[in-house]
Symmetry: C2
Subunit: 390 residues, 2 copies
């Protein structure tokens, strides 16, 4: 079959705030080929990602993403890999291309799975999908008391793991210690505690290392993104100073090289991949294979809808020893409404991928209308993009 | 003073081809502050870069570039660095932001130099600008004979150094050897010969290494971009297999970390920085400082107008031992017409930066009209961007 169409739906909450909450908007992608449909989601910033698909060519190594996708043959996984390689080469100077392609690539795997009637993880080479222990991804409270309460709520909701992240973490050492103690107290002694610094320490290894004692005392499993995503040297230096806590990162990787370098040069113990940024499931699976070889644990990074969650779980679904997964719990209504079915913890409190073709997630067309952001882009008077109807 | 406005002018040749020629379009940036103007140029893909400036916010760590620039204080270099740090944090999930910011940052340095009546390189900490030996950047011919002729023309034009690049290089080993021999023959025994593979070998170290004998026999000074810009491991492995030729790369770096990693992990002997991509002159100067410490040679990467050329030369203008510079010779008319004055080899065949305030380049307003590409972006019926009048 051939890729007949690629449509982008930019959705947003009526009010978007400066909270570090990626579920406030979404760029949903629909691909059609051979009478089948597939769906994906780009992360993040819808307008530049749309622009990267439709933009006029700048030169041979800076072509729009559309050039490497529309009309292309799609008969199996090799065709997806071929398109990925074409984009890496023909759009090498178009920085945003990786994010645009990520959502399309996801949709291609969904479509291929649906066309063949098999879950996508089987197309990636896994015989089965192992259940994962979800960690609830929540923001620190503004006070330690609020963090304590959020941690308790999380425990009550049945989660055996929780990740606390972002501001006010990093603002003061005593404050951070109080938040760490509160988080551990709230989730209880037997739960897994994870911390996400949201890059707040820049490249200041000493500042990040000053938090290690309190983290190790509170049995923090990983310390995520202390630094800028590309600051491998800072990661490497911090990794050498840890004892029980491991460093984690990788969500900013927009190709598999970046994730592999974070493993090799940054010494992370956990590699976190966002399929909506790294170029989709193909490179994510390659990173999962690489992590296994290097003795590093793979985890999804997901802060948007259950469509993105399903996509992000597929690349390591078959790795029985990589047992935890990110599971966003504070999603905005848009991200909940986007899908008809949802991935929820089962009776054991574990996450199991849908046993259904493709990504196993059904899009709710009403959400595409309700949260729709209309975009129109004209170049020299000609409309090169306008939001499609569902 | 405060940043009062940032305007984007998207320009293009009437016909843009798939040639690997970055001068076929341009995104020119005008910044005004305190009654002064500054000009810069983003590299590449104008539409996504414009979109990254005006896009609605996705969340607190995915804000439009405009949020960190408009209305900001601009009284000295520290203010530019502060804006850069704000963007790195507040737009961390907006991939294209680095390219958008690059052109703005360039314009801010131009403006600051003009406001103070000093060349920008002085603001970067250099007392003087040393002349550089320009290498003409040309594409390989389709046949070795054509490469020979281009090399001879280059020699006749007075260049003491030439870089040949891109297709058909990499297509066959015997063909590549013939092109290498032809290039050396054409430029003469006493000229500097440089080769740019345009990432054609992906990550295939053996394929790239197979060209080393012919390169070393032809006294090639550097072997540029054999691999994907982020494939540090491949760079590192090839660098270990070279004897006299050195590897070169870095043009894809969109932050200084990437360039530093290519030095540390890729073992390049030459680090090539495009100020229109790395975030402007500030991070480029930081890479130049780093290169000096590591015994690596810094070179500009420039394939567009003389405005971009001046900007790209400033960060290493004061490094007397870093003597060669990229000097694009096959520029499209648009790139020539864009500036009123031009940077040309002097009587010694060397390039000297304009001894004038800022970047020392005057924009030709007629070119902004003649090559203008009109862009209009509407979101929910509201126009968030339309090409400004000059």
């Amino acid at each position: 079959m051939k890729v007949d169409s690629v449509d982008f739906f930019y959705l947003a909450m009526p009010k978007v705030t400066t909270a570090a909450d990626g579920s406030q908007d979404a760029l949903v992608v629909r691909v059609t080929a051979g009478g089948h449909q597939g769906w994906g989601e780009c992360e993040a910033s819808p307008l530049p990602s749309i622009a990267a698909f439709v933009t006029p060519m700048s030169h041979g190594a800076c072509r729009p993403v559309s050039d490497s996708v529309l009309g292309e043959t799609l008969d199996g996984p090799d065709d997806i890999n071929r398109m990925a390689a074409t984009i890496a080469y023909n759009s090498m100077d178009l920085l945003q291309a990786a994010h645009t392609w990520s959502g399309i690539e996801m949709a291609l795997w969904d479509l291929l799975g649906r066309a063949r009637g098999v879950p996508t993880y089987q197309l990636l080479g896994y015989a089965k999908a192992y259940p994962k222990v979800p960690y609830a991804s929540v923001l620190f409270g503004t006070t330690p008391q609020q963090t304590l309460e959020r941690a308790r709520e999380n425990r009550k909701a049945g989660f055996r793991a929780a990740k606390f992240g972002w501001a006010p973490f990093g603002e003061s050492l005593p404050g951070d210690i109080a938040h760490l103690d509160a988080a551990r107290e709230g989730i209880g002694a037997d739960s897994i505690l994870l911390i996400d610094a949201g890059q707040v320490f820049g490249e200041d290894v000493d500042a990040a290392a000053a938090r290690l004692d309190a983290m190790e005392r509170n049995r923090v499993t990983f310390f995520e993104e202390p630094f800028h995503g590309s600051a491998y040297e800072a990661y490497g230096n911090l990794s050498k100073r840890t004892r029980t806590v491991k460093t984690a990162g990788g969500e900013a990787a927009h190709n598999r090289h970046m994730a592999e370098h974070l493993i090799d040069f940054g010494g992370v113990g956990f590699i976190q991949i966002d399929c909506g940024r790294i170029g989709g499931l193909g490179p994510a699976k390659a990173v999962a294979d690489y992590a296994v070889k290097r003795g590093v644990t793979y985890i999804n990074h997901t802060f948007t809808s259950n469509l993105a969650l399903s996509a992000s779980l597929q690349p390591y679904a078959g790795l029985a020893d990589h047992t935890i997964c990110e599971y966003p719990t504070g999603l905005q209504q848009l991200a909940r409404d986007l899908t008809r079915n949802h991935i929820s913890p089962d009776g054991n409190g574990e996450i199991v991928l849908p046993d259904a073709p493709g990504l196993g997630i059904e899009i709710n067309p009403d959400a595409l209308t309700q949260y729709r952001v209309d975009v129109e882009i004209k170049v020299n008077g000609k409309t090169i993009f306008s939001t499609p109807s569902y």
